[in-house]
Every structure is written in structure tokens, then in C-alpha cells.
Point group: C2
Chain length 243, copies 2
């Protein structure tokens, strides 16, 4: 068997998320279909993680195994020829036999974009519109997420109780671009809904409706039912997976 | 009756064009529905022109008449409350009794964007990807479109024979942005498919497959059947209508 690792970018707006859901439009379904066209049979693909509905990717990683040796450049070109134009294989390389897109990942980088300028119907599916944010308050508060914590309080409330919810956030930053805010999150891994719920609380702090101490409180309480508005998936981008 | 003029922006990617086509998703259908919710009855709207499937707008203009006087700011806020988030009323004002969004228009500005950098699945529905273009050749050639011409050769081949196909292009420019080319077209008006077909020939010139003299030839022949690749509507933006 030959093992391959691909870097994949996609516009999540047109899809119901990564994970296959029968015939609904999903990233996995489209890659599966393209692989069947390329190699003539069904091939199971493994992503670094399943992005939610509407979430975009510039550096998603998948792996899969083929019985026949196809040169990596042929995989990239072949898959791109069959994929819809809003899903794109950036590159393909051979992977070691023990490589696993999910379990071998050492860290991941996500970014979240918010439009703080004028309402724009042309970017609203790529960056939510939120006005009157205290940027300095958010820049101060986001640092409380850094380090090793039990993030259960920021996870989906339906999270499996046996799941290890201790993760480390290595780096955060908030950059002011031209009318947009860019939130950078680099960590060992992120739980389902974690970034969207951390963003939700951060925005409440930016709007002056919560104090930054609430972050510490939620981390200590470890109760996903302490509700915070979860920001929409449309502003979230999986940028890079490090191995 | 009270006459109103609205400036409308929209992401055309999710719509089958401006003009209503029964229950298919169109810009007109969505504005009609929002107006019915706002005023309680059907109101006919008139656009400056009907944008095609996938074409975007940052400055489309519509007019309509209401029996009751609603303040313009109330129309803007009311319609935006009922419209999908990818269609947005930028502003509303009272219009004179003889104002007509289409017939009163003095000139229109369109822009077309092409990605000349790296393939990007996240902008592919907003700017087609075309590599290896000779920008100087296109900057030179586009000037041949300026002035008053019979543009029948660049119109849709199904164009009504009685239609006046003489139009004037006042200004063109090609700007190099960060990895993108911006083509600016300002003219008295444009025929169905005209900009997409002019762009198609311009790109053939940029790729070295046609000479700029072909522009003069098509203008002189006035035959829409002389075929040129029409560029996709997804890169086209109606920016402004001047009255």
C-alpha cells in the first residue's frame, strides 16, 4: 500500500461540513467521489479533524492509502480535475506508514475573521459583521486562554464524557486588518465548537457585556452548559496542521 | 404615490440572477418578498438593469412606488430586516415622479476581477483564475473599446434586432491589485453579455491567442455570432449607476 498526505483548501459556505452525511453536500463526499474517479474504487480518507458546517480551510490535511503507486503530482492534478472548483488540493506527498492525519498532528492553527467596518453582503458568509468592539479589552482577555487548561467548559455540551478535554493553547493574537479583525488560535488541538465558543465569550467581552474574569470562571467550572453565544462557523478558517 | 430609489448590494453567487423566475432564488424575488412583509402588499420594483446569474452588485439601483409615506430610513432598515444577509439595501431616498431606475440612468460602472496569483477555492466564485496574461497587451487593447461604437458584435447572439446597439464607453482601466486584476468599465450602458464578451476577447489578447485588431474587426462586423469565449458572470460587479 502507498500512503499519501494531501493539503486541502475549501470554501465551506457551500457545504454541510467535512464529514459525509449520505448524499448531502460535504467536503468528504466530494473528495471520495473524485478519488473514485481517479483510482476506480472507494478509498477511505482520514482528515486532521472534521470542520463544521460553513467552516473554511486553507490547510486541512487528509491521508489515505492506495494499492497502486500514483505519483503525488498526479494525485494533486487528478483530484483537482474532478473536484468542484471550491475544493482544491494544494499539494500531495508520500506519507510514512505510521502517519495519521489526525493522530500524528502536533498542533493546529485556526483563524477567525470579523468585519468591524461597514456591513458587506459580499463577505458576510466569510466574516460575521459585529460593530462597536473594544479591541484592547479583547487583546487583553484572549491571553487568558493561553496555556494548558481543561477546556470542557468551552466544548459542545454533547461532548463524550470520556474524552480528554485538556488541551494547550500555545499562541493567540488579534490583528487589525483593513476593516476586519483577525483572531489567530494556535494550539495542541481544539474540541468541537471550542473556538466558536471562546470567540463568543471574547466578543461579549469586546461588547462590554462580560468581564475577562468570566474566561477563568468557565475554565474552572468545566461546565459546557454555562451558555455563551457560539459564533457562526462562517468566520472560521483551518489554516495549518503541524506534524 | 411616493416614489423611492434604493441602492442595493448583493452576492450574486447564491442567486440565479436579478430577474424573477417563479420560485427560483433571484434578487428580485427576495426584494419582492421583503417589500410584501414591510408594506403588506405586492409592489413592482424596477432595477437599473438585470444582472445575470452569479453577477454581483455593490451599487445596483431600484425604484418602486408606495401608497403610504414611509421614511426612507425606515425602508432601508425594514427591508434589511427581512432580506437574506447576502442582499443589502445600502440607502434609500425619495425620487422625483419622473425618475426611472433604468431609463434615467446616464452611465454605469462595472468592474471585473481576475485572480492572476495562486488558485484560491475561497475566491473562485468571486474572481475567475487565469494565469500567464500579458497585462501590458491588455492595457493597450482595452482602449480600443472606448468611445461610441455599435457593440452588436459583443452582444448576446439572441439580441432583439430592433434594439439600439450603439453605446458609448467613456472610460476603461486595468489595475493590478495584490494577485488580482481589476478591469473598470464606465459607459452609457451595456448590452446583455457585452462586458463578459469584451472581457473574453481581452483575455484571449492577454494570452497571446488574438491580436488587438480583432476588437476593431468585431466592432466593424457587428455580428454577435463571431464567437468569443464569454467570461463567467462570477467575476462581474455592478459598482455604480449615475443619474
Amino acid at each position: 500500500m502507498y500512503k499519501y498526505k494531501c493539503i486541502v483548501s475549501y470554501d465551506g459556505h457551500n457545504y454541510m461540513g467535512f464529514q459525509i452525511q449520505e448524499e448531502l453536500p460535504t467536503i468528504e463526499l466530494e473528495i471520495n467521489r473524485a478519488l473514485i474517479k481517479l483510482v476506480g474504487k472507494e478509498v477511505k480518507i482520514y482528515p486532521s479533524g472534521r470542520t463544521d458546517r460553513g467552516v473554511h480551510a486553507r490547510g486541512q490535511v487528509i491521508h489515505f492509502e492506495l494499492e497502486n503507486d500514483i505519483p503525488p503530482k498526479g494525485i494533486t492534478a487528478g483530484l483537482n480535475a474532478f473536484l468542484p472548483q471550491d475544493i482544491h488540493i494544494e499539494s500531495t506527498e508520500y506519507a510514512d506508514a505510521d502517519f495519521h492525519a489526525r493522530f500524528s498532528a502536533k498542533s493546529k492553527e485556526y483563524r477567525y475573521y470579523i468585519n468591524i467596518g461597514n456591513y458587506d453582503p459580499l463577505t458576510i458568509n466569510y466574516a460575521p459583521f459585529i460593530k462597536n468592539l473594544n479591541i484592547e479589552a479583547m487583546k487583553d482577555a484572549i491571553k487568558l486562554f493561553e496555556g494548558k487548561h481543561d477546556f470542557k467548559g468551552f466544548a459542545s455540551s454533547s461532548i463524550d464524557k470520556r474524552k480528554d478535554t485538556v488541551k494547550e493553547i500555545y499562541h493567540t493574537e488579534i490583528n487589525e486588518l483593513n476593516g476586519y479583525l483577525e483572531f489567530v488560535w494556535i494550539g495542541s488541538g481544539f474540541l468541537k465548537y471550542q473556538i466558536r465558543r471562546m470567540m463568543g465569550l471574547l466578543i461579549e467581552i469586546g461588547r462590554g457585556k462580560e468581564k475577562k474574569e468570566m474566561i477563568t470562571y468557565v475554565l474552572e467550572k468545566k461546565d459546557p452548559k454555562i451558555s455563551h453565544r457560539s459564533l457562526d462557523g462562517c468566520g472560521l478558517y483551518l489554516m495549518k496542521v503541524n506534524y
